[in-house]
């Protein structure tokens, strides 16, 4: 949907609170946007966040958890809800974009400067998200496939259940390299070095979809929150934490 870009100035905002289930990687950005939202409503409406793995959030919604907005780190989870008609399709929109980067430990004896270097015999282990459960892992698998590396690296891959685990492995030097989002790498600061960015055409665009939940009893407030995320101020906050705009081309390219 694309008609979610309505103005929110002329509508009164409901009192109470809305519940937003969001991918845990959005925590810092969304917490800030949540404060903005509260201020905007004159402190009458607050946002309760439920941060977790996108898959868990999806299953909660499928089983009737009282959620008003869902922001996922991958399209797959949102699609699953769409099929079951659990989201308000009109409100669905991609609100942010991410890029995939190759990281190595801060102090590393192994020289890795590109994805191709991963085939070097000195690279014993590479941490990536589990493609079956972690969106970042899904994109990583896709990218490695396009680069023709899947076969060669198959027995070097360590599958993590969340991005944090990949970061931990890399920071602690348990693996020679890892593949994460640029936002995650940014969060880890100087503990990891970004050595390469995956080409946009090696994987589907990494888009973060957001939508209001069909069963929500605060659909107006939910849409207002989505609007805020989409607004200039909202996008500014997201940019601050390393996300780029969903429509804009990847700035790292």
């Amino acid at each position: 949907g694309s008609n979610a870009n309505r103005s929110n100035e002329d509508q009164p905002i409901q009192a109470g609170s809305i519940t937003v289930s969001a991918a845990i990687s959005l925590k810092d950005a969304f917490t800030e946007i949540g404060e903005m939202y509260k201020a905007k409503t004159g402190n009458r409406t607050t946002v309760q966040f439920n941060f977790g793995a996108s898959g868990v959030l999806q299953q909660q919604i499928e089983n009737g958890a009282p959620v008003d907005v869902f922001a996922s780190a991958g399209e797959k989870q949102m699609d699953a809800l769409a099929v079951k008609q659990l989201i308000d399709l009109d409100s669905r929109i991609d609100f942010a974009r991410n890029t995939l980067v190759l990281i190595v430990p801060e102090h590393s004896g192994v020289s890795v400067a590109s994805f191709a270097d991963l085939t070097s015999p000195s690279v014993k282990k590479i941490a990536v998200g589990n493609a079956k459960t972690v969106p970042a892992g899904q994109y990583a698998a896709e990218a490695l496939g396009r680069m023709g590396l899947t076969e060669k690296l198959a027995d070097r891959l360590v599958l993590a259940e969340n991005v944090r685990q990949v970061l931990d492995y890399v920071v602690r030097g348990e693996v020679e390299a890892g593949i994460v989002y640029s936002t995650d790498a940014k969060q880890a600061g100087s503990q990891v070095k970004v050595v390469a960015t995956a080409d946009e055409n090696t994987h589907a665009p990494i888009l973060y979809p957001i939508a209001a939940i069909e069963a929500s009893s605060h659909s107006k407030a939910a849409k207002e929150f989505i609007d805020l995320v989409r607004s200039v101020e909202g996008q500014k906050v997201l940019a601050k934490y390393g996300f780029s705009s969903a429509n804009a081309p990847n700035p790292n390219q």
């Binding site: 990687s25 925590k27 941060f51 958890a65």
Partner: protein, 220 residues
Amino acid sequence: MIWDALKLSLLVVSVATAIVGAVGLLFSYLLAKTEFRGKELLDAALTLPLVLPPTVTGYYLIVLLGRRGLIGYYIYEVTGWSFAFTWEGAVVAAVVVSLPLMIKASRASIESVGPQYELASYTLGKGRFETFLRVTLPLARRGIVAGLVLAFARALGEFGATLMIAGNIPGKTQTMPLAIYEAVASGNERQAQILALVLTALSIAAVYLTNKMSRTQAHG
């Protein structure tokens, strides 16, 4: 945030431990003192929440108790209320995962009480219930306290199943372990460490005091 999570954890854990204590003793009694078909099978089945990954347990809980769940549906229809995203949901998760610990430990200790004391109590005109309460329980004290401590600790640390059914809503369902999870996952290491320290201190203090108390009281 620490404060909210701590308060909530204490609430959830105390309610859960009380329920586990009562329900666990009932089951232990049935398993230890009565004979029925499929008894050992029930005992074996009761260890299941230990074996299944908590997230999976949580998944089954939500399938059962969620607003569209097998049971949850009727609860919702009648009361308009559901376990999902409530602290009561967190209690259910904590009870389910910690109950097996209580039952295993206390069943064993109840069975180890020599029958002569219970028989003596019967000859003194006491029924099963009073005998259990005044003779068997005090004599099985150590194992029961061990079971309660295990259950308490497990409930305090419960995370996977709670996340699934109760969600992770600060001030509402975010218990200490969930707060730690969130801090870790969002790269907030400092906060994660503080939270883990508080949780550690709380648990050590509680277990230590329980040990002290149960040991200074009359020992059989």
